[in-house]
Symmetry: C2
Subunit: 446 residues, 2 copies
């Protein structure tokens, strides 16, 4: 390729944090970059749970990819669904045609992992994409609408029981935000409902919540959630999810498999599954080995073994550092995206790629109003100050000034006026195969 005068072509699959930062790093260099994504917007996933808790509009945390590259002449975007990579031919096949590359960056991210638990795929609500967040929000509101007109006590309680599976950051943050929604604005919307009937239950199979954070933040998180009224059940896993119930199992000892026979049944119409993620495999990734969790092992330089022209970054990459694999978080995606782009530029210039070194900037979690946990290096912060820090850092990291204004306005409304503005069931026509029956009358289909 370097023998002719054409610029090297770099294809980036995925417009998440990893793909975007990789492309931005390549802006202005003598390369032609094509970014592909099946959506024409980038999603700020850190605030996704707030969309599902009716705190933010979907559009507040989405940013059109084309806008990111307005002034970057060597970067173009293509709305397409990448179906297959052919590393031999150096070609990406999409649903809109094929694209050839000289260098490829795979940044397709992660998807929800069901661990093969029965019923999860079909019955549980996921929280990884904007559509899933909006569908879940609609479903929550529908449950309250249905409960408002339900005279049968058992049925009503099932509608007002919400089970969240997974005590990581997503599950914790969503439990807190949902609790605040229910006992704040919704309590005003539905004066006919006895809110003591509402149950919000958080299940975690391990003995701790947010296992990745320091011990004092873990303890604070658990205490805080319980004080907000969340029924936190540790060492508890899900055996099976059914249409109107979930079977759980509490274990005290190690790793014995859970079984449906020894479990307890919770009547509920809402099971939110945040218990695991795995890499999003690109079908036909022939010749590129993928680990058990769907993540692609990479060299320290982020290149695929024996494929020096293919890089994998972000959640999809299994990046080893010392004894561990880096977590699937935004900072890893951003930094690995920048590094992969710079390594490609080094290769083009005839130099060797450098190994990637992750700079851990700490982690944060928001439990609720004025309650967050922040860990930076060895220091930890909890409570109100941590919460302010959390707000500021997330606001600053949003792409797009308008998005910041919108999110700030919505937050002001909630945190100052205790009102959630996004309490609509919209769109009301759910896609075929929708999981929610709460808004659909028994003998009728929407």
């Amino acid at each position: 390729m370097e023998t002719n005068s054409k610029k090297p072509r770099i294809v980036v699959i995925g417009a998440g944090f990893g793909g975007l930062w990789a492309a931005r790093t390549l802006a202005g260099s003598p390369v032609d970059v094509t970014v592909i994504d099946r959506n024409n917007y980038h999603t700020f996933l850190a605030l996704l749970y707030q969309v599902a808790a009716a705190e933010l509009n979907a559009e507040d945390i989405a940013y059109p990819v084309r806008s990111v590259f307005w002034k970057k002449a060597n970067i173009r975007f293509e709305l397409a669904h990448a179906r297959r990579v052919d590393p031999e031919r150096r070609r990406v096949e999409t649903d809109r045609g094929s694209i050839d590359y000289d260098y490829l960056i795979l940044a397709t991210g992660s998807v929800t992992s069901t661990f093969g638990v029965a019923g999860v795929e079909k019955q549980a609500y996921f929280l990884k994409t904007l559509e899933e967040a909006v569908a879940l929000k609609n479903h929550i509101i529908c449950c309250f609408e249905a409960a408002a007109g339900e005279a049968d006590e058992e049925k009503r309680k099932a509608l007002l029981t919400f089970v969240i599976v997974g005590g990581g950051a997503t599950g914790v943050e969503y439990s807190g935000a949902l609790t605040e929604l229910v006992h704040g604005p919704l309590a005003k919307d539905y004066p006919g409902i006895d809110f003591s009937e509402v149950r919000i239950i958080l299940l975690e199979a391990a003995p701790h919540l947010v296992a990745s954070m320091p011990a004092d933040i873990r303890a604070y998180t658990t205490t805080k959630l319980k004080s907000m009224g969340v029924d936190v059940r540790l060492s508890t896993a899900v055996a099976e999810v059914l249409q109107d119930k979930v079977i759980i199992d509490s274990r005290r000892e190690g790793a014995r498999p859970f079984s449906a026979t020894s479990g307890e049944t919770l009547s509920t119409h809402t099971v939110v599954w945040t218990a695991g993620v795995r890499g999003e495999e690109l079908p036909g990734l022939s010749g590129i080995p993928v680990g058990r969790d769907g993540r692609v092992p990479v060299e320290p330089t982020l290149q695929v073994v024996n494929r020096p022209d293919v890089y994998v970054i972000g959640d999809l990459a299994a990046i080893r550092e010392d004894a561990r694999v880096l977590p699937m978080v935004a900072q890893v995606a951003i930094q690995s995206g920048v590094k992969a782009a710079r390594n490609i530029l080094r290769q083009i210039a005839g130099r060797s790629p450098e190994p990637f070194s992750y700079a851990d900037r700490g982690s944060m979690i928001a439990i609720g109003r004025k309650a967050a946990g922040v860990a930076i290096g060895r220091r930890t912060f909890k409570g109100f100050f941590a919460w302010i820090l959390w707000l500021v850092i997330h606001l600053a990291n949003l792409i797009g000034f308008r998005n910041r204004v919108m999110v700030l306005t919505n937050w002001a409304w909630d945190y100052l006026l205790y009102e959630r503005a996004v309490r609509y069931v919209f769109p009301s026509g759910m896609p075929a195969g929708s999981k929610s029956r709460a808004c659909a009358p028994p003998a009728d289909s929407n």
Copy 2:
């Protein structure tokens, strides 16, 4: 009903302007009011076209009905689809059960009328509900995404041709807003597209646009739209709409039927039908006669003939005044809603209902940035001042302070920064039967 001590029950079907203002008028009186709507939010329809032009979020112009009645103890809301009215039994049948009433207010509004023109129902885009507006906006963006990758000139031009049918307020306002979207933010998003290939065509069967406004505003509107680049074709009607074209017919003389054989063909993937509205018939409205346009004739008191306990208001009602029937506009809905509610209170108190007298507060139309027409009484205003008036009045009429903040912010972004923020294709999973194929690859289904 007055012989027992129970409060009279009033059922209001529809939470649009008419239904909401009727219910608000009844707040605090010794009556029990139930408002029914198939959506749990009220839509500010005057700004709906801006959602379809990617200027506003859908949620910016929607307001949860329950919030309107937070502090009104005698008013409750029920999310239900009213299927049938039984005036003999004084009962409304919905998809969630039956509701008995002592007095009924029908405020279900209007729907798009296709005039039986072939292909409209199946192929054209409507602009009467939030879902329709969002679907249309998504489709417009999809057309540009598809055009960006389309090498064939004819196909590309068909994707970039947008036909709006109906030169009333909706068609005019949408044509202007769409033109500003296309030649502003979209031109920045798609640098690879030759925007001289874009055609926006407005068809009107009559010899004038906005026939309901004074002559000077009609002329101003036409001139302004043309100067913005809209291809305005008067005395032109649609004979048939097909999947990728529309057959039109231009006539100079009166009311001879249009025919497909004498028409011109426009290749397009987007036909927006705003050409007519009719009353939304409630099936099984047995015994209540309905006119040819679906509107229910009412007494001057807004009661249905021979049904003193049933009132019809807003778009659904055919209210005669002098020689004409009142237009289907928001002010008529609001004022008739208030009047019907007051008349019911008079009946309960043993007095006679009063005839309704409409106070015409004028009309307004926005053609584009700094260009509007306002007619109040005999006075007309055009241009920049009229536009400011239009902005202020619409902002003031939005229900909900938060909505006003959101709309104002989005307008500031557009009018000051020439940027439209809502340029996402979301939700991407369109309901089954969606009309848009622009985003769906040929051999694949979303």
